[in-house]
Symmetry: C2
Amino acid sequence: MSKKIGKQTIAFRNKPSVIGFYSVAGMKEGEGNFKDYFQMILEDDLLGENTFEHAERRLFELAIKNAIKESGCKDEDIGLLISGDLLNQIVTANYAARSFNIPLLGLYGACSTMAESLAVGAALVDGGHYNNVACCTGSHFSSAERQYRFPLELGNQRPPTSQWTVTGSGCTIISNKPSKIKVVNATFGKVIDYGISDVNNMGAAMAPAAMSTIIAHLKDTKTNVEDYDLILTGDLGKLGSEILMDLMEHEGYKLGQNYNDCGQMMFADRQKTFQGASGAGCSAIVLNSYVFQKMLKGEYKRVLFCATGALLSTTTVQQGDTIPCICHAVELSVEE
Amino acid sequence: MSKKIGKQTIAFRNKPSVIGFYSVAGMKEGEGNFKDYFQMILEDDLLGENTFEHAERRLFELAIKNAIKESGCKDEDIGLLISGDLLNQIVTANYAARSFNIPLLGLYGACSTMAESLAVGAALVDGGHYNNVACCTGSHFSSAERQYRFPLELGNQRPPTSQWTVTGSGCTIISNKPSKIKVVNATFGKVIDYGISDVNNMGAAMAPAAMSTIIAHLKDTKTNVEDYDLILTGDLGKLGSEILMDLMEHEGYKLGQNYNDCGQMMFADRQKTFQGASGAGCSAIVLNSYVFQKMLKGEYKRVLFCATGALLSTTTVQQGDTIPCICHAVELSVEE
């Protein structure tokens, strides 16, 4: 009866499918390594709005509207919108949902939200509760930067371990209708805190959470690292990815050529983002463009998508707390 | 196959059960109308911590730990913790989860979080993905007040339409094991915005969302208001409850003696909280003490629990946005 296949991983027996996906990328992202994959690249990061926070809502609305369109569904076919973002009180998801006549399930998992929403969405479709759900997240460099760090006008110097928050939004439509890409199982992560307190080194803080979830997934599913065409973390960045590889090796798992990180891959070196990209939008726009497109072409057949999130706030930093992190993983597979 | 019973309501065919519940209430709440129902009443709202934010985490930890104990489970029996709170980046839920070796699904639904977490938890148990899950939320007057409104030291005057954020946390354990109280179905709410912008009148802002979800639920389940022993909204307060009754009557539904509101019921008049209580902890501690206890005694057999949330942030207020709101409903039933 139970679909729990291991201590931490839940299996989807009814094969929920990806029937539509869409990514909207900001201007800087549109000049990076995935420029040929994004479905939409902005010409104005403000989208004609008067604040960056309002612009972020437009990003979400564009991603949701176009993903629904790509799936061949209409708004009324979507039973539930599952969405969250980085702004306080997830106001981007909340306000964007006003534009759709669809019930909202609001989530918060920081930059792990794309995997978190896919895991919940696939479970609700798998359980027979919904026919189609929309899973969406994203971020905006300018709204995140001024909420979490400094006023943009200050022009603060960025340390070498820092990452660049992605402007972009991605949305996936999960359905009980058949399609080529299936959501096979999901591993919800535990909150892991290795005592890192440097808010400019998120990769180091998040790497142990990624290790925890990936190892739990491999043990639960009795698979090895080599069984996957791609193991993709969310936004550890260059340094964080190296730390993850070291941590995994110490536990006896060797991440090889099939491992990569969305944060590490996003920007070209000439774009000077130090450790690479971050933000809930980072893994969201890579998954909903590059990864799904490669899966449809058959270039990737089995993918472990592991989005990572740092669960701090400015208040916890001010009160001297360390940074707890989480990683949720979703296994995706191509069926001919 | 589909368990969707209406446009917005999902039914739980496998009868997920409430096998444990616990509420921790603050000092002021412990002197209010539910003082004989709360399982734990604090003697110190700081719980020996150095900040109110740290105290709020202890509240959650106490509620979760004791709910698991009451259910007869051990930590390792709980497959997933489903939790969220009012603080930025839901840090209470995130940091409290460090104390448990249980994966976390982080949610944000403002003061609707208790119903939101129950709906998700019951769906995941119903779908066979988990045997037991813990659903927890709460709030702390002092942390919420200083994050959303003014520094506590300012001693700001409170307007007559205002409500008092509850200090307290409630946790429910949902299971596939049989027990007397069943979760029958759930209605996820749409985001509703009637253009209210007064942050000191949340009841008025939230009432239309409550109406939307309650009417959707009644239509989907083909039931009438009179079919329930109790229809209980989350924290509309006195004024908000009156507005809801007016709005419902305008639509042809007469909420009568079987309707009440947790915010309206919480405090005694002598406690001078104006419109009553609010906060994610408000409906959480009423449900996880009074309501479940009355259900176990057979005094309530069919309950529609409708937690309401205002989805604003301080930034949206500063940028002149109106207040979007949401209400999630969960139907509970006693089976002998």
